[in-house]
């Protein structure tokens, strides 16, 4: 069973992301959660997720800092952003830092299906 870590400082948004995963057909995945980048690093060490879906704007450690920390530690763990913000600068920074995709809130199940399917096959 694939395991997905949802990182967002809003519990409501974590629930919406988890619900949207089910609506997008990923109802067989196990979901684990974290409220910011610092918590995410701890969860990653213990739970070993296959994919991370992270908000960008969070207290303590934001999403791009989380991604850069992972890559600095030689982790190739796949990470995609689910964020309310999307500017060309953010998209470029996400891509050059190694993010898989950037989904903008509000999103639909179709958006999730298209973005995640290539990375959750098999």
């Amino acid at each position: 069973m694939k395991k997905i870590l949802i990182v967002d400082d809003s519990k409501a948004m974590r629930m919406i992301v988890a619900r949207t995963l089910r609506q997008a057909g990923f109802d067989g995945v196990e979901v684990v959660e974290a409220g910011n980048g610092v918590e995410a690093l701890q969860v990653i060490e213990g739970a070993r997720p296959d994919l991370v879906l992270s908000d960008w704007n969070m207290p303590e450690m934001n999403g791009i800092e989380l991604l850069k920390t992972l890559r600095a530690n030689n982790s190739a763990l796949p990470l995609g952003f689910v964020t309310s913000e999307s500017t060309p600068e953010m998209q470029a920074l996400a891509a050059e830092s190694g993010a898989l995709f950037l989904i903008v809130k509000p999103f639909t199940a179709d958006t999730f299906e298209g973005a995640l399917r290539p990375h959750l096959a098999a």
């Binding site: 809003s10 519990k11 629930m15 704007n57 500017t87 903008v104």
Partner: protein, 150 residues
Amino acid sequence: MDISDDDIRDIVSNIFSSLLDLPVEATASAPERPIHSHAYTSSVQITGAWEGAVSVECSEPLARTMTEAMFGMEKGEAAKEEILDAVGEVANVAGGNVKALLPSPAVLSIPSVTEGVDYVVKMPGTTAVNHVGFSCDGEPLVVTVLRRAS
């Protein structure tokens, strides 16, 4: 450069249809304050190439309805902490979408939420450039975009 009232109507419509699955309609004008005897106001600040704030104000019954929709709860189940979280996230998404239409680079703050019976929210040095009203099952919601004088 600012954004139009129609941009705000599109953003709020998308939030209600995609995230909340609740009906919403724009009203001809925004209601006068106080919009309800018990209300919530959530705000995010934008700093950088464009400076200001995006504020979302709604009645307590609508805050509760939005929370129950976001959490998938039964009516009456939402606790205060969950309402504060949900209302803040609506402002966060609205603010992020507004920011995308404004000059960059800019930074979006973490949302702050005010709740109460009779309160005033002041953001010194700003001017309201948009003030757009909505109704969800008869309950009011107002989105205000404030620009800081350069």
